[in-house]
């Protein structure tokens, strides 16, 4: 039976996602946190701080891309077998509106789950005052590496 995108996931899968996210040094460094973790759908929040800015004081597109990449990656990873690893093949992002506000939220959704390749769409919203504005839209291709551990390899 095929699980529904956005539906609940078991505790084991959720732990796998949260552990992997916890190993992403960049997410902690950017102050980004996992928000929702559902089947084929993951969202990540990142509150504003000056360390995330570009030259006009908005969120830098690089930070926006970083949480978009992780949101899509983990959305895909929820649909992968336990003994596997996820890598981004490519990401394309359109910056639609100036990204300013209290926080950004990237919401990744699996559009096509394949055995080898999975395609996600990611929306990034800026939360400002009582508004929620779509500031970026992305498409991403992920690859499932079966049997590859999701942890650092030993010394190369």
């Amino acid at each position: 039976m095929k699980a529904e995108i956005g539906g609940p996931i078991d505790g084991e899968t959720e732990r796998r996602i949260r552990d992997s996210f916890g190993r992403q040094g960049l997410m902690a460094h950017l102050g980004a946190t996992l928000h929702e973790v559902r089947h084929g759908l993951v969202s990540i929040r990142m509150p504003f701080r000056a360390e995330l800015s570009q030259q006009h004081g908005y969120f830098h597109a690089g930070g926006t891309s970083a949480i978009a990449d992780s949101a899509g990656g983990y959305a895909a990873y929820t649909t992968f077998p336990a003994a596997s690893s996820v890598l981004t093949v490519e990401l394309k992002i359109n910056l639609l509106n100036p990204a300013y506000g209290e926080a950004l939220e990237a919401r990744g959704t699996v559009i096509k789950a394949g055995r080898t390749l999975t395609v996600c769409q990611i929306e990034v919203f800026a939360e400002r005052d009582d508004e929620r504005v779509l500031v970026a839209l992305a498409q991403q291709t992920l690859i499932c590496l079966e049997g590859r551990r999701d942890t650092p390899a030993g010394p190369r």
Copy 2:
């Protein structure tokens, strides 16, 4: 006369680029520095540290994208009029090889300089031991906002 891509730029333009880069809080936060600044060609270096990693201990695609975005953006900006601002319209990046090594270098080059839109290509190399490996390739569209200051606006 049309300046050559990769050719020298005047001190005024270089100062404009370096000042703008200096206002990007994210670049400092990632430990990224401006390397080359030439006409239509800018490179940025980012030494590895754990705060930049993804779950396997490689550079996170988000950090790779961030320096790719700034390298392309500033390559474009060298070709813009002084009283203007640059914004990324969209960025597409392919991750070609695992991004590990002592440092990454993103090298942005203007492919087409237009009055409104400019298209750049960005190569990202990983420096490891004595090798230099292409780890990412990106295409990016930038917009020139004439008359818009390249500094934070006042209170909104």
Copy 3:
């Protein structure tokens, strides 16, 4: 007042879209026809024939891209001023499933309508038997050329 995406358009705008589509020699050559024309939403249908195939006998990605490009372009064009022209800045398409069936339908939707740049998303469905399968997903950036006529220029 802002018109709603997917809402009705006036006869004048619809005529402008249909006339422009009629001038696209490629659409006729591919056997593609305008289906829906609404505010910020245009769909195009293309029945299968051997002239549209790739090596396995499916629809060639190039034909899929062609109707995706026109569907997004005309979706954007419905939101532009009458005395203007539309050009594609860039298009990114993911081929999700083998594109076979009686016909393809590309459905372009405006995600962000700007004065200069507009961003569309395009879904392409294959109609087979009684199914409708999403075979491609695209993101596209369009530029509005104000004052530029939407017809061939005179001799260059």
Copy 4:
């Protein structure tokens, strides 16, 4: 030993590429022909005719994308094992300059050849009078389907 991109290929591989190209109904329908076939580098030419136009009388971005897609796809295919098939995963194209002239030439080059995924870059030039103008730049991801025949399947 690794063959060099742009180097010669054996007659068997060239035949495989030319046969596969010959099965692409769309290429014939667009009047496109294989030009160069080298290791990891394939070019395709398409002379102008009214059936390839968009509304202003230029080459339609869909036709430009179609030959870009095939040029990249066959460049990748030259590097694949004989008993395999190639499919496009995704394509991203920037339209840089109005595409008019006597003919277009798309030139696909392998940037990264992998066992499963291969990434190509494609340049499209317009030939006009004695000029050759870069009109489009694309990045493309291809997948190698080992053991899958490069011909139409039987009745589904």
